[in-house]
């Protein structure tokens, strides 16, 4: 099925119906939509589509259409590539992760987690978030506090010493966080996903 049809069709309707009763099912659906969004992003890039290209302002006859660029601010060079050797590109890309960390990085150091646990948790991110700039200070603080409590309990209940936490244990904790129904955790993550989904729905309409 074409991605646009997927996003127009049942999946979105299902999301709208269940949005008032957040659940792990909805969370899983949101993950799928996010993944489709990222795939669409990659396809769009390959096709030379630049989602950040300036547009003609609303109100004019060409409102919403792509401008030729030069709309102020950055000038995107969408097709540019690194001139470095390919091996360096891979190393470069692998070294960086983007997006919201499900387990805040600040906890890695605070708990003195092992290097392998840090590595696993550092990879637990949403991926690049295009919907909007970061906001929600209070919610994010509460989210961080909730994860701190959960991690503390997880280590205590499983008698894990932070400095010896294995990759498997870190993976299990990360997965628990993704399924967690604590509203401080679930609502914050859902908020991010919903914004991202709405962003992609708007983008797809513009592609039409």
């Amino acid at each position: 099925m074409h991605m646009r049809e997927v996003l127009r069709g049942g999946a979105i309707n299902e999301s709208a119906e269940t949005v008032s009763r957040p659940s792990t099912r909805l969370m899983a659906l949101d993950f799928r939509l996010m993944r489709w969004g990222w795939q669409l992003d990659n396809l769009a890039r390959k096709a030379g589509f630049n989602p950040s290209q300036p547009r003609v302002p609303a109100g004019s006859p060409d409102g919403g259409k792509w401008a030729d660029g030069g709309g102020g601010g950055r000038c995107f060079r969408w097709q540019t590539r690194l001139s470095r050797p390919q091996t360096q590109i891979s190393e470069f890309s692998a070294a960086r992760v983007r997006g919201h960390h499900f387990v805040p990085r600040s906890l890695f150091q605070r708990f003195g987690l092992s290097a392998e646990a840090r590595k696993v948790l550092d990879r637990g991110v949403t991926g690049r978030l295009r919907a909007e700039k970061h906001g929600w200070s209070v919610e994010h603080h509460e989210y961080n506090k909730a994860i701190r409590e959960k991690l503390s309990r997880f280590l205590r209940d499983n008698k894990i010493r932070p400095e010896s936490m294995t990759a498997n244990e870190a993976t299990e904790f990360r997965e628990r966080i993704l399924r967690d129904q604590d509203p401080r955790i679930r609502n914050f993550n859902l908020k991010i996903y919903r914004r991202e989904i709405l962003y992609w729905i708007r983008r797809i309409r513009r592609l039409d």
Partner: protein, 132 residues
């Protein structure tokens, strides 16, 4: 000369600015991700050309601190640092500053501040609009 794609340049510059900002802020207070310190410098790169600094201590809004932050962006014209005012236990409306290399956009609502902070002024700043 190395040429980066925009995404990779964003990564490289995000990290460079993050480290500069961390070093600059460290002597000025405690960085805490749980809202229990003087500030929190968001340590996730969400992919935008922006850093976010949550400020709990109003001392960090002093003009000399903010212009110091602005100086860190001298070679980064594409970037902005959002300074969100987020004092502990205070339910103030969302407000803050957007600091760019060439301007400071002032969105502070000083009427909420204690008297000693109400006269803060940032040279060359402008009031934010809905286009910011």
């Amino acid at each position: 000369m190395t040429e980066y794609s925009d995404d990779e340049r964003q990564d490289v510059e995000w990290e460079a600015i993050y480290h500069r900002l961390s070093a600059y802020l460290a002597p000025l207070g405690e960085n805490d991700a749980f809202g229990e310190g003087d500030y929190w410098l968001l340590d996730d790169n969400w992919g935008n050309w922006q850093h976010k600094l949550h400020v709990a201590s109003l001392d960090l809004l002093r003009p000399e601190v903010i212009t110091g932050i602005q100086r860190l962006l001298e070679n980064y014209p594409d970037w902005s640092i959002v300074v969100a005012v987020d004092p502990k236990e205070m339910h103030w409306p969302a407000m803050g500053l957007i600091v760019r290399s060439h301007e400071i956009i002032d969105g502070l609502q000083r009427e909420y501040f204690p008297p000693e902070y109400r006269d803060i002024h940032y040279p060359g700043s402008r009031v934010g609009t809905d286009r910011d």
